[in-house]
Symmetry: C2
Subunit: 309 residues, 2 copies
């Protein structure tokens, strides 16, 4: 892997929109995802096979997948990922042709129980069964990404020791997942805690197997990303415009904004394949429907300079 | 200098308030400055000896200085700095007992001309005369900080080469200024451009003589600060709550917020002497008068969690 290549893993259409109150139509989502791909996005999470009654924002995931997977040229060079939280999600995912699965667990028991209704151990067992079954159907086409949330802090248990996170990472890796995304769910990480976790994780896994997923709740997302890049990480999760917010502190900033990340990476001479200007135009068009201020600083300035058009 | 000590240079009462449309009363400013000092701030820029008709926000600088300098215990352990842009400012500054002077120039000619009405060379000449005269009166009590604005980009001339900035730094240093604050006036710096400028600057000056002054216009202020700290810089300019905005892109974020900086530094185990919680309470009380959203991410989350009280 060349050191100046960075993979941006765009989570706006899933992690982002799932935490926005505005409901987008299927047509709007297809436009959003297609436009991000046209701007150069190569890895994008487009939906989640969760219960439509519980997460109405993701209710059209099956149709969205059908649209993209039934005619592969619609995705161009991009990989579209979906969250498959359990066995009932597995069935739906396979039916509509999903090959890139994301599974979701946590570093803290309380969060796992409240968020996915399972202990960490139960979730790992569930993933094992999902992946075993999916491999039978998809063979080597199956790609799996495992999220470890609350990796730095938990809204219920407070500070989280790296040891705890590393143990979950180790077990996920043993299941054969291709990539593990280390998530600062509540945005409490800082460069020192990033280093304290990423350094030992890099002794367990290849850097291509690790992604970081920062929230900007306390302003440190980009600084944490910089430290991760310094340490060798080359896959960064981010969300168009900072879509998503923070469910644990409504009104606070959520996901790291892809635009801010791109501005920094471009400046550092790192290549992502994404055109920042094209990307901004897509996000701005989407944000016109969302009744809250933009959280991406870069986009705020873009609007101040060029207006909303 | 111990490596885990970081000096925060608080610019909220000057650089911050000067760029806010709301006018604060003398009493409110005294409260604001005194409260920041009580929260542990040790270096604070409190005013500017500019023309009151041009910058009404700074019109009470003389009275403010009189209040603090006529009874030194009001400042406690803090150093209060004032901007002294020219000879007419010098007279006023000396009359009210200012000992810590800030002078202001730029790395680009167009910005210098439009902002201070002088060429860079003229401004350096002016500073030389100001400092010579001030030294006669104050002797070794005189401390001087020189700002070099547009050090990474200029609203009129675009990208700025490190060579240009280093030349201004060298000339300022030759005048005997104690500290030079390198300013990213329009917020276009990123970690690579920070490194490209700070590394050679550190060959010319001791790290204690260099401060960095980042604006968060494109989201990179804290990442740039992290890179500066990595390189050895230990003096960081920031503004309470992110006060100040960006005069070149109204609506965009301005100065790096002190709260976000403190959160990161605390996490990294660096000592500043400032209590983050006390600091937040002061900023929030001030922000109730300002009719724009908070830009500090940390404060946004603080409000989301604890409310405005």
């Amino acid at each position: 892997m060349k050191t100046d290549l960075v993979q941006i893993f765009e989570v706006g259409p899933r992690d982002g929109l799932q935490n926005e109150s505005h409901l987008f139509t299927l047509k709007e989502k297809i436009w959003f995802i297609s436009s991000l791909i046209q701007a150069g996005v190569r890895n994008i999470e487009i939906g989640a096979f969760v219960r439509p009654d519980r997460v109405p924002q993701m209710a059209d995931t099956d149709q969205l997948c059908h649209y993209f997977f039934s005619a592969p040229k619609r995705l161009g060079l991009a990989q579209a990922w979906c969250l498959v939280p359990n066995k009932s999600g597995l069935q739906r995912a396979l039916e509509v042709g999903v090959t890139h699965f994301a599974v979701f667990t946590a570093a803290t028991e309380t969060f796992a129980k409240k968020n996915i209704g399972m202990t960490i151990q139960q979730s790992l067992k569930e993933f094992q069964e999902i992946l075993r079954a999916a491999r039978v159907v998809l063979g080597s086409k199956l790609k799996v990404r495992g999220y470890v949330s609350t990796a730095f802090g938990c809204p219920f248990e407070g500070k989280v020791a790296p040891k705890k996170v590393l143990s979950v990472i180790e077990k996920l890796a043993a299941l054969g997942v291709d990539q593990i995304s280390i998530g600062d769910t509540i945005g409490v990480a800082h460069p020192a805690s990033v280093q304290a976790l990423i350094q030992p994780a890099l002794k367990m896994l290849d850097r291509g197997q690790i992604a970081v997923h920062f929230h900007d709740t306390r302003g440190t997302a980009l600084a944490n990303t910089l430290r991760s890049i310094d340490l060798g990480i080359r896959t960064i999760d981010s969300s168009a415009g900072g879509l998503g917010g923070c469910p644990y502190a409504p009104g606070a900033a959520g996901n790291l904004a892809t635009e801010d990340l791109l501005f920094m990476l471009n400046g550092m001479g790192m290549r992502t394949g994404i055109d920042l200007d094209d990307f901004c135009k897509v996000t701005l068009k989407l944000f016109r429907k969302i009744k809250r201020p933009l959280t991406s600083r870069y986009l705020q300035t873009y609007v101040a300079q060029f207006g909303l058009e």
